[in-house]
């Protein structure tokens, strides 16, 4: 029996297949479909200190092998999350990673502190902690926060530093494909004490409604995900995982066990499944087994054998 258990940023995962932020809610919609302990972990929808209503107008739009979304970080705010959603997430028996957004460095830092405190408190009471924070400096769908911080290394450094100071939880930084210099950005995060990197977030994209003669999205641009972006994401994961020593979580268009192996061979320590959850609502129930079967078929006994082989 092939074991897929692995360690990521000091956290023990039953397998390296995580569910990506924004595509899995807080787990509940899928918990009705299959037991979530099949998953390596769940990354929450992006959370900010304050609740946010998100964007108006069209929010999801399909393109050839892609999905453009303009949700705009709609979320109930960290306090509400901690009160109303977290408890239930703990029952799922899988790692919980909180995706952290913010409109200012201060909001990021305060959010991180709130999560960290709540997590410490919970642990003290013998309950589950938040396993990691995934710092999102790469959301292309909000005016403030998000991409504003993810393009330039020096601006990003301030956020990473502030959040690193605010939390002792394992910290992942989620990078944007729009970073001016992706490997420089990655090395900066490593130097600032990030425990791992997640990439890629969606790629800034556009769709025009030629009948209405306007952008499909009220926010003009939005973020492209799905199989269309896989070859780009794979290249970036390869580049970054060869530039740093901390683990890299590969994200972008993954839609099969084959895709997962590609990302692991490119150097990823783990992967996240996003849009594929929509293409196949029960993807999370099946992928672990499918990965194991594929590995058996290819004579691969453990992912360590092939990680970063290329």
């Amino acid at each position: 029996m092939i074991s897929l258990a692995c360690e990521l940023a000091g956290v023990q995962l039953s397998n390296p297949i995580l569910m990506a932020s924004g595509t899995f809610g807080f787990g509940k919609p899928y918990a009705a479909l299959y037991p979530l302990d099949k998953l390596g972990g769940i990354v929450t929808k992006g959370l900010t200190l304050q609740a946010r209503p998100g964007n108006t107008g069209t929010r999801v739009f399909e393109t050839d092998s892609g999905l453009i979304n303009s949700i705009g970080l709609e979320n109930p705010g960290i306090p509400t999350f901690l009160e109303r959603e977290w408890e239930e997430m703990m029952q799922y028996g899988t790692a919980i990673i909180v995706n952290l957004g913010g409109g200012s460095i201060r909001e990021y830092a305060e959010g991180a502190m709130l999560i960290t405190e709540a997590s410490r408190e919970s642990k003290k009471n013998g309950r589950r902690a938040v396993d990691m924070i995934e710092l999102n400096i790469s959301c292309p769908n909000v005016k403030e926060g998000g991409l504003q911080y993810g393009v330039d290394t020096d601006r990003a450094r301030e956020v990473v530093r502030a959040v690193r100071m605010a939390t002792d939880l394992p910290l992942l930084v989620k990078l944007s494909p729009s970073a001016r210099d992706l490997t420089e950005m990655a090395r900066m995060c490593e130097a600032e004490g990030a425990d791992g990197l997640s990439l890629i977030n969606t790629i800034q994209a556009m769709a025009i409604d030629i009948r209405k003669k306007r952008s499909v999205f009220d926010g003009l641009y939005a973020g492209l995900s799905g199989p269309a972006i896989k070859p780009i994401a794979l290249r970036m994961v390869h580049q970054v995982s060869h530039a740093v020593d901390i683990p890299v979580i590969g994200i972008g268009g993954i839609a099969s066990a084959e895709d997962i192996l590609e990302f692991i061979m490119a150097g990823a320590a783990a992967v996240q499944i996003g849009t594929y959850n929509f293409m196949r609502l029960r993807a999370g129930a099946a992928l672990e087994d499918e990965l194991r079967e594929l590995m058996a078929q290819e004579g691969i006994r453990s992912l360590d054998e092939i990680r970063g082989i290329i």
């Binding site: 899995f24 929010r59 999801v60 399909e62 092998s65 892609g66 839609a255 929509f278």
Partner: protein, 233 residues
């Protein structure tokens, strides 16, 4: 996976798809349908048209890639369906009108079946389609072609109105119902990614609060729907 029994063309671009299985859904709920692999990316939301012993059926218009693929299904082919999803029409109180415009009649056959005491109004811009099924199961069905079906219904005569159709029709009904005491519920459409409440892609602003069409809808009380969000489909 379900087995396709029939996939009949009822009118130009209008198909009725029936698959095998015991399904339980309330009127106005929908399923995410899919009969393809990775392309197109998303499954398609389609309302429950009818349920009978051992079968469920859908009424749809071919309007793009996904519905074209649906229309190519042959008996014996397999269809993936996830559902029933969303919240359908509430059990109506008092005198009830069921009003459908065009493709909006799709979710109303099940409603007509379950509400034999209602009055049913079906309006079409051109030739009516799929109306014989309504006549077959319901005594009080009014079909109108051309004009707007809203002109044939006097809202004040009803306690509850269940409706589905193009946004302008819904706006008109909302307008005419205001102040009559009748409660208007309608089923709305918005682009969906997950269909199960995970992505927040399908929100509509209601009373200033975001509601996800796929879980809190697709049926809403007409009250405070922000039509801008709907129109921006």
């Amino acid at each position: 996976m379900a087995n396709v029994l029939v996939n009949n063309k009822l009118a130009p671009d209008i198909y009725q798809l029936t698959v095998e299985g015991e399904y339980h859904a309330s009127m106005g709920q929908f399923y995410m349908l899919r009969c393809w692999g990775a392309f197109p990316v998303l499954s398609r939301p389609i309302s429950v048209h009818d349920i009978n012993e051992g079968t469920i059926s859908f009424l749809y218009r071919v309007s793009g890639t996904g519905t074209r693929l649906l229309s190519q299904l042959k008996p014996g082919n397999q269809l993936q369906l996830e559902g029933p999803l969303g919240r359908g029409f509430p059990e109506p109180e008092g005198r009830t009108a069921i009003i459908g415009g065009g493709m909006g009649i799709a979710p109303l056959l099940l409603a007509a079946r379950r509400l034999p005491d209602s009055r049913v109004f079906l309006g079409f811009a051109g030739d009516p389609f799929a109306v014989s099924a309504f006549h077959a199961i319901h005594a009080d069905v009014h079909v109108v072609s051309g004009g707007t079906i809203a002109d044939y219904v006097e809202p004040s005569e009803y306690d509850t109105i269940l409706a589905c159709g193009p946004v302008p029709l819904m706006e008109l009904l909302a307008h005419r119902t205001k102040g009559t005491g009748a409660k208007l519920f309608f089923s709305v459409e918005k682009r969906m990614a997950c269909g199960i409440g995970a992505c927040s892609g399908c929100t509509v602003r209601i009373d200033g609060v975001n509601r996800r069409v796929c879980v809190e809808g697709p049926v809403f009380s007409a009250g405070e729907v922000d039509f801008h969000d709907l129109l921006s489909l």
